[in-house]
């Protein structure tokens, strides 16, 4: 196998402030180009922080990052100045949940895309505008010429997200990060955007990491899935593995909570309690307090990361058989 596009080794992210938050606690991931990884987790699981670390978007002065992180052979944590600017947008770019916040409200969309292209590729304005139009066609924007001259507020939610994707892909990044890009959209629009991202990922042959709390969305777009809880990856595997044969009690609970195979009117097999506060680094299984099948050892020592197949790992003592 060739060198992976993304190689994340034991990443830790800690925020300092009034109180310390151990947001990411030893996450290891690899991604080949052309592959889509879905990161599934609830709020506070560290999924968005992991994504932002890839672009070095976290506030430098109060963030402590440990571990190694290489994208396309480059050490991301060592990048500075010009190299970091090239990394952002050209090697890796991102689609955000709320395009209304991510797009500048006082610039026309076409100008925003063209400016990004000019900055990264040093081409002329007319070439950049031509690229912007190309991108609008790629994201199937209705009447693209006219929409290039529109301001963000003049577009509907779905069109804004298409514009955001066009902006993110304008410099042909090798890795696209998507942070809950369809959560704020209506159901009939969400599926359009999911299918669009799936197509564009194949067409551009790029790697994609798709972060979401919605299992259904993960199933639609990803090849592999990593389930995060309390800043750790607790289970990874192909989409098939996770949906058909979830091993970690948390993953099973999430599937039940998504009414996967729920009997109508019957009580849901809900996970009790709430996620931990992450004020200290976990020293045992973070899920143990909520786990229906926890044993005594779960609360005293960290669970092993059990490999149960190629590219399939479960961080649970019960997987050891």
């Amino acid at each position: 196998m060739s060198a992976p596009l993304l190689d994340m080794e034991n990443l830790t992210v800690r925020f300092h402030g009034e109180r310390t938050v151990h947001a990411v606690n030893g996450v290891s991931l690899t991604l080949q180009s052309g592959e889509t990884l879905g990161i599934l987790g609830e709020s506070g699981s560290g999924k968005s922080v992991t994504l932002k670390t890839l672009l070095r978007l976290l506030p430098e002065n109060r963030t402590e990052i440990g571990g190694t992180l290489r994208v396309d052979g480059q050490d991301v944590l060592a990048l500075q100045g010009r190299a970091l600017a090239d990394h952002r947008g050209r090697t890796v770019s991102m689609v955000f949940q709320d395009p209304m916040l991510a797009l500048d409200p006082v610039y026309r969309i076409g100008d925003q895309i063209a400016e990004t292209v000019m900055r990264h590729e040093g081409c002329s304005r007319s070439e950049a505008m031509a690229r912007a139009l190309d991108m609008f066609k790629s994201v199937q924007m209705p009447s693209p010429e006219r929409r290039l001259r529109a301001y963000p507020h003049e577009m509907s939610g779905g069109m804004r997200q298409r514009a955001m994707i066009a902006l993110a892909l304008a410099c042909r990044p090798k890795l696209l990060l998507a942070d809950e890009p369809t959560t704020a959209l209506d159901a009939t629009v969400q599926i359009q955007i999911l299918l669009l991202l799936r197509d564009l990922q194949r067409q551009f042959g790029m790697g994609m990491i798709f972060v979401t709390h919605d299992i259904g969305v993960v199933v639609e777009v990803s090849d592999r899935v990593a389930v995060m809880y309390a800043g750790e990856i607790i289970e990874t595997g192909t989409v098939h593995d996770i949906i058909r044969d979830a091993r970690h009690p948390y993953t099973k609970g999430l599937l039940a909570a998504n009414l996967h195979g729920a009997v109508k009117g019957a009580r849901l097999n809900a996970i009790s309690g709430a996620p931990p506060s992450l004020e200290s680094r976990p020293t045992a299984c973070s899920f143990a307090p909520r786990c229906p099948v926890a044993r005594e050892t779960c609360a005293s020592q960290p669970p092993p990361n059990v490999a149960v197949g190629a590219q399939r790992q479960v961080r649970c003592i019960l997987a050891q058989q």
């Binding site: 209705p142 209506d186 639609e220 192909t238 098939h240």
Partner: protein, 334 residues
Amino acid sequence: MIPAPLFSAQNLVKHFRLKGGLLGSSRGVVRAVDNVSFDLAEGETLGIVGESGCGKSTTARLIVDLISPDAGTITLGGKLLGKHISARELRRQIQMVFQDSYASLNPRLTMEDAIAFGPKVNGMSPQQAARLAHELLERVGLEPRRFAGRYPHELSGGQRQRVNIARALAFSPKIVVLDESVSALDKSVEAQVLNLLADLKAELGLTYVFISHDLNVVRHMSDRVMVMYLGQVAEIGTVEAIYSAPAHPYTAALLSAMPSMDPDRRTMEAPLTGDPPNPINPPAGCRFHTRCKHADTICAAVEPGLFGLPGEGHQVACHIHIPGSNHRNRGVEA
């Protein structure tokens, strides 16, 4: 035969004028709810689904009389609102739980005070109201000793939403309107709250109006489902009818827009293109005709009324199903 409905809304209309001109002149009218009628039987759960701008939240506020309709009537237990029953009495019997658990609690009131506020306003003594608040906290699964003196920011989203449910129950209401009440919660917490709602309904004999954009959750919770599109009812029927034999093309599209949850059967084609149109100037005729793949000339010209289909209380507003509508697909499966 069928008992008289507990609650009935007939031909509700609510339009909002958009202000913004220099002298407060109108810039248009949002047709948030346009001629919506439905009944609630005692003890049932009616699910309301639809996309943004479909009027489901406005409908919720009309049901609990937070806003008054421009036209139409509301009847509770056979009594007409404004004539036989006062708004104050109606509000006591129909309570609402909002989506945003944080914004719906006063940040400067303890949980006990938040729950006791309503009963006190309605004449209960402070001691009695506080005791009731403790009982209700216990009822929604929050230990009163630990939670009564806490403030909203000290609770998690799920806990806050339990408090909001407790507050709604303080009046022993007959109907509880749940407007996206679990949508902002994490899935694992959402499941806990759904269980709680099911338990409370069984124990207290409540009637729910369950509003959500999540079709899975609506299917799990509801007995009947009402599908709304741009301020109108597109289809209403039992949950089985709606989910297994949707009659309206919009219902069918909504259902096939749901992620499949099956990696071998991923969605290959989006059922609809574009976003839902703006309710400010909704399309003439059938409001869905601009996005409907079955649209015919009649659809742009004539607004379809609700038409009864075989099956219990199944009604649909689509020309395909209306006899003599001249729709080219008339009689063909939608």
